[in-house]
């Protein structure tokens, strides 16, 4: 396949960037999207040009490291991560634009790589439970209803990729927040810190410069793990309850 790429190139943080056009003449439909970029980078290196910087790690759709906005869609046209996207999702002769996640809270470090440590700080603010380490507790000591365990597990599949932020017209991170709050809030171990958690995580979220949610739902459409919008409703519920209890 012949593909024309338009890629955001930016030398470093805070510097101006621009879209640069490249052509690829021999793309196999079986290549993954990132392999296609690897091939481009080899060619660039042979020509003595700077390769395109982009993030990836596991390339198995489980670590959340990769993430590109492809033709205006976070992670591209399929409901999966960028590393699990294949060139068969495109046609011969296609023009593909590739941009980094765009949010002031995720500043561009270089080309397509953004700094997502804002998510780490949100987790540090309250996305944890406090337990004593040591021997693993007896598994049946704290019974959990099946429905709650399932919901917690589904929410826990969030890999923190940030596609929800990239897709949101407000650049809000509420789907990510909702996933964490639901995951921990459905389980007995998450109860002691539940009221404080939602307030602290939200305060950190707002402080990082993410926008506010207006319930448009672009996040859930973009999420590679299909985290549903109802986790945001859960987040809102937890905040309202916490507020009623004087937090």
């Amino acid at each position: 396949m012949k593909i024309t790429l338009e890629i955001w190139r930016q030398a470093g943080p805070g510097t101006a960037g621009k879209m640069v056009t490249y052509t690829q003449d021999d793309v196999s439909p079986d290549m993954s999207f990132l392999e296609m970029l690897d091939v481009l980078n080899e060619q660039l290196q042979e020509r003595g040009e700077e390769p395109v910087a982009f993030d990836s790690d596991c390339r198995e759709g489980i670590c959340g490291m990769c993430g590109l906005v492809i033709n205006g869609q976070a992670h591209g046209p399929q409901v999966t991560t960028t590393c699990q996207l294949h060139m068969r999702s495109f046609k011969d002769g296609d023009r593909i634009t590739i941009e980094p996640w765009r949010a002031d809270a995720f500043p561009v470090l270089k080309d397509l790589v953004v700094d997502r440590s804002a998510f780490d700080r949100i987790i540090q603010a309250g996305g944890f439970i406090s337990v004593n380490t040591g021997a693993a507790p007896e598994a049946h000591a704290a019974p959990v209803q099946k429905a709650k365990a399932d919901r917690a597990f589904d929410a826990a599949t969030c890999i923190g990729c940030g596609a929800c932020v990239a897709a949101c017209p407000n650049a809000a991170a509420m789907l990510f927040l909702g996933a964490k709050v639901t995951h921990l809030g459905e389980l007995p171990q998450g109860q002691p810190e539940r009221d404080a958690r939602v307030v602290k995580m939200l305060t950190q979220h707002d402080h990082e410069g993410f926008g506010g949610c207006t319930n448009v739902g672009a996040c859930a459409d973009a999420c590679p793990k299909e985290i549903p919008l109802d986790v945001i409703s859960q987040l809102n519920t937890d905040l309202r309850r916490s507020m009623a209890r004087g937090n």
Partner: protein, 238 residues
Amino acid sequence: MATQTVNLANAKARRTTVAMKLLMALTGALFVFYVLMHMYGNLKVFAGQESFDSYAHHLRTIGEPILPYAGFLWLFRLLLIGSLVGHAYSAFYLWSRASGARSQRYAVRAAGAAAFRSKAMRWGGVALLAFLVFHLIQFTISKVNFNGDVTAASIGDSPYRLVVASFQLWWVVLIYLVALAALGLHLHHGVWSAAQTLGLTTSPEARTRAKTAAVFIAALVVVGFALPPLAILFGLVE
């Protein structure tokens, strides 16, 4: 990016953006209730002048003699004005946060329903605000009659005759239909959004129910408000 750390020990629920949305949802819910009552009142046009005018009069005597004439009406109006301020304040606050949260725009944006909804809410909301000013001047504050064929004397102090005279003009009806379209879109997203913010949609079934309710309320309001002006324009009500 956050440059300085925030003191999480002082974090307050009411200072978060979600609290802002709660303000928007609660004031919005009051407006939904009000709009439905308003629609009910408008439909009295079909019951004739006496019914319509006495309804308008009775709105002013609710609560008498404990409250003065029009006392309840004014209390309710104050509540509505306060809610409008809160609703618009949270809307503009979230709007400005959103523009500050993505200063570098995307070169390509996939046109999606979500992007449309967010634009329709904002610009539709601004359009509704402008319409509200016109509407209040026309029927509440100055009671302006634009219809040159109907004299002020023949209208007198009858709200019914003012309404009928106004909607005999095609362009007045057109303004109202455009405003109704904006209101319908606003309710379509707003009712669902309020349910989501109030935490009523924590399961897929509840989400479907909220979406259905939003479509139903939006359709009901558009039809209910469009009937009287259209009936007047086409001479079914005189």
